[in-house]
Amino acid sequence: MKTNKTALLLMAAAIALIVLGAASGQQTAVLQKASQICMECIGLG
């Protein structure tokens, strides 16, 4: 079905983006910001 292909294409593009981001270390940035709490950033202020 045509629409099934759209989903698969998008998922493939998504994986490409994830790999591209991981190659430039963006997942480390996610980790760094998710392991220290900036209180004001989540409304604790």
């Binding site: 480390t28 940035a29 760094q32 392991s35 220290q36 709490i37 900036c38 004001e40 950033c41």
Partner: protein, 200 residues
Amino acid sequence: MRKMFIILIAVFTIAFCACGTGRRNEEASDPAAAAIVQTTEEQEDNQNTATEQGAEEAAPADFSPEFTFVTTDRDGNTYSETVFSGYKLTVLNFWEPWCGPCVRELPDLQKLYENYSDKGLNIIGIYSTSGMEEDVTDILTSSGVTFPILHYADEFAAFETGYVPTTVLVDQSGHIVLEEPIIGSNSYKEWESVIGRYLA
């Protein structure tokens, strides 16, 4: 299904209630808190010896740092715990370049540094985020920061509260002054009143 619903509610309620018994009883097993509590006693001993010797400057014999560290600043200069001995009070400010409140208090810390460094205040900023050096440069330039900015070292893990910014005060003998680290950012006035007690 109703059974599962009740069981799940019970589990979450128990987990939630268990939270209440957490932290306050944990001080014994929390090394950072234990270290801080322990030092206030040692610090009192050292202060007595200091007044006995009538020392106004840092007497090397008194320097008994609670923790040691070796790290570098952004220009590659090495710093260690000996940096504490030159100042009555050192403000160790742990910040991150993605943390809005951390960055927003840097100009206030700079002003504090400018106003009180002749009274024995030193401020040291420490950040751990990697891969954001351009951001750090921008932040330090626009905030006009002149106090030392160091890279994070594993020895600082004792102060890991999990929150940023976290600030720890260290005196001349390398002892931690406050029982608990300060978490969250503060205004210039708030910082002034905090350090005022120790710079008199």
